[in-house]
Symmetry: D4
Subunit: 217 residues, 8 copies
């Protein structure tokens, strides 16, 4: 195998391994999944295509694919979930990225609260959900186009907000750049940003924060 | 005089003339102001520097300068103001641009309601002002950095919103580009955008809209 | 249904609802259209693909699709049209975006005057149409490539001009950025801009303005 | 006073208030500082110029200025510091931004570990400090030019890393854009990014995380 | 002297030499001007600062400086002018660049027709000058901000149009990029573009074209 | 027919009409070609796809398609060619754009000299062709990637050079932007630039220049 | 044949010829390969598609295609390999570009050491390979996304490092721009950069360096 | 001292240390220079301002400053120079960057051949110097604006060429981006690029190459 697999990073310990599927050759993917399967670890593969899924499934029928989040996973061991992370989206088109974040957080043992389609163009939708959101240790704000959800959330809650710009939009959204810039320039306190469409990165960091908080409960 | 002066555009009729002072040579500016002064018209000069003001004043002591909005004006005739335009800002640093918009609207005969420092990072500030804003025929939203004020306003009111991105910010605000993109990508209905820091353009178009509405009252 | 539908925004009252079809899953779209259909409201869906149309039609044969504007609509109630909005284009390739604008305006009860292929490279074409354009309460200027139509129009008429840059062009048109910048930098007064290819946004705001004017007649 | 002051955001409770000094007029600044001073709250003002400091000091001799971090503060009440945040920089030129982060974290009650000039061009410098860094609940990585420090740190520690790109560099560093992109594209897990030179934002969010962790100790 | 001087390029033959003054050290400039002076050639230096002029004048009192065009010249021999080049500008702020173009063309023996402040926001100003413009062999269109003058001119005349974008503007004019893109994307035939503010390049190429035409008369 | 056809522009007089085929609907194209065919004019259609050709051919078998230049033409009348334009390319991949230029020039009555694959990475190839190139009245330089051909040619010949950047390349060629910038920044005199891949624009303007020169022969 | 083939560049002497296959027509490619085949030279064709391979193979069955590196080659003569070049990648997705570099270096007679998947997010992987890397005369660092591998390598070894940014990534990787900027801004000494995905360029220059070193052994 | 000084990097061994002066505080600089001075090492400080020089000189009169290259150095030990590096520039304005490269190479023991002002707009100037350039082991090509010198050189010589884009230019040169892109997209073989204005980086890497070659002589 020419890819060097890491078996020792700490957050993953006892939870499982992560694979970045995008652009990986089928044989390569099968090789990686089989090796993890033999080690009895759970696997979370992100950005997998339906075609990759179908080919890997032939060799390893145990893999599961979520067409919404594009996650290709093996779940061998039960996952015990604790704490709370709120995952919010501006529109329905942002849900695939939000699911990547939510399922990543769940894979690593966090409870997730999903609050979708509460964008700032109709602010009452978000305001009516605030009580629920306050119960989370960390908030993930997923939004494309104008991307203002992160700012408004960070202004309303006092927990860390991780903002995920999405490539949803057209014209001057420039594949997510508009939302990215909005989030980086937020005037609200307590907001940091990950790459465009990087639900995985947000879910992972939210889990790190959630665990720090859970130790305290 | 080598600049061709227009005396016939319709919105201006009976109100006065506009001068874009930025980059104009002192002698040239004095020449223009003097000619208008002799025609007994009001003059609204935008983007004037303090130095331009001081030089023009020597030749024409009647000119007035507003250091906040950088407007250099001659007001010979009373202006009768009608209707209503709401001018809102995200922060206090956006006030100079907002004043350019507000004073332009007033110059052309609109009443102006100023609602400053109501940015989305503390959404309650804006919500408490909504009743007032609803009384306007047109809303101008002035904001830098993340620039989300326009979207939130357009989602809350059913009058046309003209959004003005400002160059306020640092880092990835890129001199106003971040706010500009946010505004162009707004998911809310009833929003259009002018150039970065272009308070004049917003004030002018808002006046066109206000007049259309006022004819009805 | 996981998308929160708004039934109360004011311009829409008595006219119908809007759906942003781009990127929505078929089942999701059918669900939305059916719910609106049951509420007896007209529906205007923008940026729908032919494939979305064909699938929705199977479930709801009453939907209609305009292949030019990519609008997927249900028209249950007659629409009474008033006032006047002029929709102009630079070339014939801009017509799809112009139709999105025009049909949006008509959906919300505005009369529309279509003046297509009058770009500034042959200025006589535009000049010969000026009398007609002057009769409108608001002008929409749709143009790609150099995008100068908005400026020239705003210089010629004294009503608000909403400029829509289009992604028509190649090379350094950068998918509409060239036209967008031209429009934002217009030296003419009374011009504001919406996102690249956003005919809907222009049609909606023009309707807001048209209504303000119509109240007066 | 035309700026609306918030006295109720939760992280700040019992710690003090924050002022964004950049671009604020002197009189305006004095007004704000005086009002907070009278309320007996600590104040942390960021991005203050030396000139602003000198003018405010005249009116309010109690203010202190840190020329490195550009922080203009009033410290009336003792701050009790808990937990641990590691603040690392790539080079010595990044220290001003790092100090803004560190002093913000301290202002809100976090202990700070400063580890400066450990950029990846001489990786041994960083490796020799790893044990210390592991003791922190959250790591702040401050770097300009190539900005790779965040990635390397996130790969080495299992706590959340907040990366701050700086505008240090020349040529194709584009005022911090190069470092920003590096950080957004990190292949390492557990990294999120704030605006270029935004030490304050990083210090604030790190404090939110540190507090969640401290509750557990 | 460490700069290699060319004495043989053909357009220049019998007319004189060109110097790009920007960024050249004073001693270096004096050396170059003196050498040309001794060879009895005319010299056209572009983008010279006032400070450069004053220093060179001390050594070589014969040099002349035009503060508008920033041209630093020595004119030893009479220039015989033929043909015709029309130089047009959108606004008065574009005149410095237009003068660089016009004086370059004159230096190399072309007659120049100056038509300034005829931008497209008031199209009647341009239309009233068309007869004059038609008499030229080549047209230079100088404009900043929206930069639409080139397109409109190329649509109206059947001679080659050389468009010069200027850095005049603010906000999204991006130092001339907006005008540059407008010009590159022109839908009109017979237009080519030079660098932002490059009046010299336009004047030179227009002269090449004018000479080809003059041979025919 | 909803496109307004121009029959009177002067360069075209007696030569034929131009159609910009990109993005035009098939029925629309057929309509245009048929109308010109009935008026007995030659037609030059640029940027036509093979599919457009096949559909138009069904209705109008007289049309001809050049798969290299993507030109879809009708040639009813003989074209008499005069003067000389040199069309040079950097590589073989630039030939399609060069052919668009060359065939446009021929369509409007210019003789064309084709000199392909003489890029600056092997400068001897270009130097060996200089004598031929000197015979032309105007030179077109077509190049992608680094795009330096225009500069080198303009330095070697004393006729106007029209540079056409092409989208040939990968990575940081950014679809032709690299070549475009190189050409705009040329240090050589007598060079102007058209849009990326705009062979038509270069061929047209070169013909305007060639005609001015030919009148003299 | 309309492409001018060079048979005399020095590095190639005795090794073979290079063809840039991207965008070349099939007939054209066959023509070139056949001509070289008849001259008994080895051929290295880069950026060939599978389809090009299949068509060329029909005419010239001796060609070989490496689907990973997209190299289409003819190897007629044995290649004697000397010296050493280390080719390192950040991830497995960078291997295609690395193979283009490695096979280019081998084609021109260099020994190559392949060290793949040693990105900086897990720095121990790279550190464990340092001894091997030190044996090379030149190092090629191939990495996408954050692209920090080049900097870390240049900091660790004292031989020239040629960095190749790859287009691997998504979102704000902007097709390789992020990695390109990281590499250009490296704080480490002894690093230069080639175009995004330009494995060939890196392999070629590394060979030039390797040869200079080998002469010494 | 809070900056960690490296005394062990290999190229430097026996030659001296490097300091990046830009943005360093005076006290900090003095501290560094004094420490190196006490260790008897030569020091090469780049990007130093005249003001930094004057202040450091007060504390350490032995420092020398080259106003052209902005190098602030201490030379305690004789440097023995071997091999050969050719440093070429396009224009005279590129000389400061070229001198940074040349003096860096000399500092580390390379002989340097300076060939300035041989840009491609007058290609004969470069061709007449080719024999000299062929004698070098490595070539540095320094150019701004169109930046084509690197390509032409790499096409003419068979030694590695290191290209340095400079920020010389105006308008669409975008502070060196135009030259940078030209160089990255070079069609010639054997060229790699460093950051804009990074003469130091080019001089350092050229020295690494020169040393590898010298071992052979
Ligand atoms: N969607 C994603 N975006 C960014 N990084 C990811 C993503 N998914 C996985 N990763 C990272 O990629 C690593 C696995 O890469 P690989 O070994 O190439 O499969 C994981 O350890 C994560 O750090
Ligand atoms: N073409 C369009 N461009 C931008 N926004 C649109 C467009 N069409 C509809 N919208 C907005 O999208 C909203 C509906 O979004 P959704 O609920 O996701 O269907 C409408 O209320 C409009 O504000
Ligand atoms: N390849 C091209 N690039 C730019 N403009 C073109 C091109 N081909 C034709 N044109 C212009 O497009 C006009 C015809 O446009 P249309 O009436 O839409 O067919 C012609 O008169 C030309 O000015
Ligand atoms: N002009 C320059 N551009 C880029 N890097 C430089 C430059 N001058 C010096 N350096 C690097 O900066 C390091 C010294 O940085 P410092 O320790 O901050 O003085 C040197 O070892 C070089 O790697
Ligand atoms: Mg908050
Ligand atoms: Mg609204
Ligand atoms: Mg108007
Ligand atoms: Mg980590
Ligand atoms: Mg014309
Ligand atoms: Mg020339
Ligand atoms: Mg090194
Ligand atoms: Mg070479």
């Amino acid at each position: 195998g020419f890819a060097k697999l890491d078996h020792h990073r700490s957050l993953r310990s006892g939870f499982g391994e992560v694979v970045f599927c995008q652009g990986k050759a089928i044989e390569h993917l099968i090789h990686i999944y089989q090796r993890f399967y033999e080690h009895d670890t759970n696997v979370l593969g992100t950005r997998a295509t339906k075609e990759q899924y179908e080919e890997v499934k032939k060799a390893l029928p145990v893999v599961e694919y979520d067409a919404l989040s594009h996650i290709l996973s093996i779940q061998k061991k039960e996952i015990n979930k604790t704490g709370c992370i709120a995952v919010c989206t501006g529109g329905t088109a942002d849900i695939p990225v939000a699911e990547e974040a939510a399922q990543t957080a769940e894979f690593f043992g966090s409870k997730v609260l999903r609050i979708y389609d509460v964008g700032v163009a109709g602010i009452h939708r978000l305001l009516s959900k605030l009580d629920e959101i306050h119960s989370a240790n960390c908030v993930i704000a997923v939004a494309g186009m104008e991307g203002a959800l992160g700012s408004v959330l960070a202004g309303l809650v006092d927990k860390p907000v991780i903002a995920v710009p999405t490539s949803v939009g057209y014209g001057a959204s420039f594949g997510g750049v508009s939302a990215l810039l909005t989030m980086l320039n937020s005037c609200a306190e307590g907001l940091a940003v990950v790459n465009i469409d990087n639900g995985f990165g947000a879910g992972y960091m939210a889990t790190q924060i959630n665990r720090l908080a859970v130790r305290a409960e």
